[in-house]
């Protein structure tokens, strides 16, 4: 039965090759590669070079993996490979960020004098002249800036070491590890930042919680290439038929927000890793009826949502609800006081007591 054997061989070989191919496509590039060999560098010198380095002209794709145990609104949840954004910059302050949003796209273009915000969902363009530009959103979407700020902020409460090398987005990178000092009371074990050996741009930021081997949060490049970019990327012409809105710095919306901030009575207790933000939400908000999407069920009030997400606790602060995730805890008391931090519950209770 020669033919039968041939047939089996063909089926086995073809299927094996196909399955191997599928698995190969699925596995992230560089996962099984040996870490690159790089000249040793001290942690201080590495941090300094990151702060000094200018962002070169680059193009990249950014991915976010969120595994903290609570969905972040507007961001992909779960551990799937979800591409968050594509980033382009010419290294001279002009840039483009394209954020994927459920089949649509939001595009931010900074052309040097104007920032354009395009939203494909309602075909609208918002235009900010440079003074009025809100760079908070850019900072969030740009892992380079986010990581840099973090390094500066927590240097004095952390042990900063260089822990070998890694390959990120097919580039050789140093692994900078920030570990909280033993006196810090935090849920976090360490923060790892992969820094490109050549350009000194942070390529990936990972937050690891106690008792977890996989990062709770990871944001980083999956593709990264330097070199001059097409200048057309950094210009934007509102397409015909699009609504163009002039964005103003002090529009009413913002004033409302500021008003809300004032009434929130925000305070920061502690410093370093166990910093806790405390504040106050208007009592009306807690009992506010939130209309539910969909037909099922009546409107929910905020308290019942808290009940669902957190567990009820009581102590010197009165009673409240604790919402715990792998990287942080939030405590909301029934009289509207709030404390949030990357800390265990007891630290939040202490922080509320300090007021």
């Amino acid at each position: 039965m020669d033919r039968k054997r041939t047939a089996l061989t063909v089926a086995a070989a073809g299927t094996a090759a196909g399955v191997a191919g599928l698995v190969l496509i699925a596995s992230p590039a560089g996962a099984n590669e040996a870490p690159p060999v790089l000249p040793p560098v001290s942690a201080e010198a590495l941090v300094q070079s990151v702060i000094d380095a200018d962002t070169p002209a680059l193009a990249g794709a950014v991915e976010l993996r969120n595994n903290i145990g609570l969905p972040i609104p507007g961001l992909p949840a779960g551990s799937s490979d979800e591409e968050l954004a594509r980033v382009y910059t010419d290294g001279q302050g002009r840039g483009r960020i394209a954020l994927k949003q459920g089949g649509g796209e939001r595009t931010f273009v900074q052309d040097g004098t104007t920032t354009w915000l395009w939203n494909s969902a309602d075909k609208s363009v918002t235009k900010y002249t440079s003074e009025g530009k809100d760079d908070a959103e850019e900072k969030l979407a740009d892992p380079a800036t986010a990581a840099r700020d973090l390094v500066e902020l927590i240097k004095k409460d952390s042990t900063v070491t260089v822990d070998g090398t890694a390959r990120v987005a097919d580039r050789a990178a140093y692994q900078l590890v920030l570990t909280p000092k033993p006196t810090e009371r935090t849920l976090l074990r360490e923060v790892r930042i992969a820094i490109d050996a050549q350009t000194r741009v942070p390529l990936r930021l990972e937050v690891l919680a106690n008792g977890q081997s996989d990062p709770a949060l990871r944001i980083g490049f999956t593709e990264f290439s330097t070199g001059a970019q097409d200048p057309a990327l950094f210009t934007f012409t509102p397409p015909p038929g699009a609504k163009v809105i002039e964005g103003k710095k002090d529009d009413t919306n913002k004033e409302e927000h500021e008003e809300l901030f004032r009434s929130a009575d925000l305070k920061v207790v502690g410093e370093g890793w166990d910093v806790v933000a405390t504040g106050r939400v208007p009592a009306a908000l807690l009992s506010a009826q939130i209309p539910q999407s969909g037909e099922r069920g009546g409107p929910l009030d905020a308290t019942s949502i808290l009940k669902k997400l957190g567990k009820e606790v009581s102590g010197s602060f009165g009673t409240g609800y604790v919402i715990s995730t792998k990287v942080g805890t939030a405590l909301v008391t029934t009289d509207g006081r709030v404390a949030v931090g990357a800390v265990p519950q007891q630290v939040l209770v202490d922080a509320l007591g300090q007021k």
Partner: protein
């Protein structure tokens, strides 16, 4: 074994006769006609919505952009059809190719003929592949005509907010056609493998659609996210990438490679079954 000189029919003639046979089946023609109508019906629906003053707000993703953006209609139609209509077409064609012939008893004659089994399978696969390609091209053409005529717009507004000239827009439609065709071929290869094992065409269609539906269910379960990258349906969502500007190639290339892997799996299983089949 005595050596025989077999005078083979020229391959082009064989392929042409296979194609003619597939296209002569009434269900193929009806299927193609209905597929060609899909973009037209969608175009009419969107045009009516636009005329009655709806602005398309609240629509998701590509649907929000297609109003007044005619060259997007073929891409929109194909991205919707790739989820169910085109897989159904591919499965039907693959079912007719082997299981259908088998149920009529005509496959037996072909297996007895002094033709290599590989050649027979290749001819059958060619018939399936070229008619699915025809279906996709047909949808793109009717989509473009309906889009430009009903929705208007010269060029294409991309999801990134840039306007592409007509030639570039045509390029994007072509990329979509190639990508969608590859994906349908991948599923048809699996269907052909099933088709080689059975003589009931209905089983082929049911199994193939079962694969599509189960893949969809698996990808919807968050705990099974790790299985996503190997599912055949994962690549189908990447069609939306063609309307970004600049186009991001990596998901498209990944999807095309995944389709190639599935074609290899389906093709080799079908071939091995054809080798051992007695008729």
């Amino acid at each position: 074994m005595t050596t025989m000189t077999v005078r083979r029919a020229p391959i082009t003639r064989v392929l042409r006769s296979e194609l003619r046979m597939v296209l002569r089946r009434p269900r193929t023609l009806v299927g193609l006609g209905l597929l060609g109508l899909v973009p037209v019906v969608m175009g009419i629906g969107i045009a009516i919505a636009a005329a009655s003053g709806e602005t398309g707000e609240g629509a998701e993703g590509m649907a929000a952009l297609v109003m007044g953006n005619g060259m997007l209609l073929p891409i929109f139609a194909l991205s919707i059809a790739v989820a169910m209509l085109l897989p159904l077409t591919g499965a039907m064609l693959a079912a007719d190719a082997l299981a259908g012939e088998s149920s009529h008893g005509t496959l037996r004659g072909m297996l007895m003929a002094p033709v290599s089994r590989g050649r027979l399978l290749a001819v059958k696969a060619f018939g399936v592949a070229s008619v699915t390609l025809l279906a996709v091209v047909l949808m793109a053409v009717t989509g473009m005509i309906a889009g430009v005529a009903l929705l208007g717009g010269d060029g294409m507004l991309t999801a990134s907010g840039t306007s592409l000239p007509f030639a570039d827009a045509l390029g994007r439609v072509l990329i979509t056609v190639v990508y969608v065709t590859l994906q349908v071929w991948a599923l048809s290869a699996l269907a052909l493998a099933v088709s080689a094992y059975t003589e009931h065409p209905l089983i082929v269609v049911v199994v193939t659609l079962g694969v599509v539906i189960v893949s969809g269910v698996l990808s919807a379960i968050p705990a099974l996210d790790w299985i996503d990258p190997v599912l055949i349906t994962t690549s189908w969502e990447a069609v939306g990438e063609v309307i970004s500007d600049p186009i991001s190639w990596s998901p498209l290339v990944e999807g095309a490679l995944r389709a190639a892997c599935y074609m290899l799996i389906g093709g080799s299983i079908a071939y091995s079954r054809m080798l051992t089949r007695d008729g």
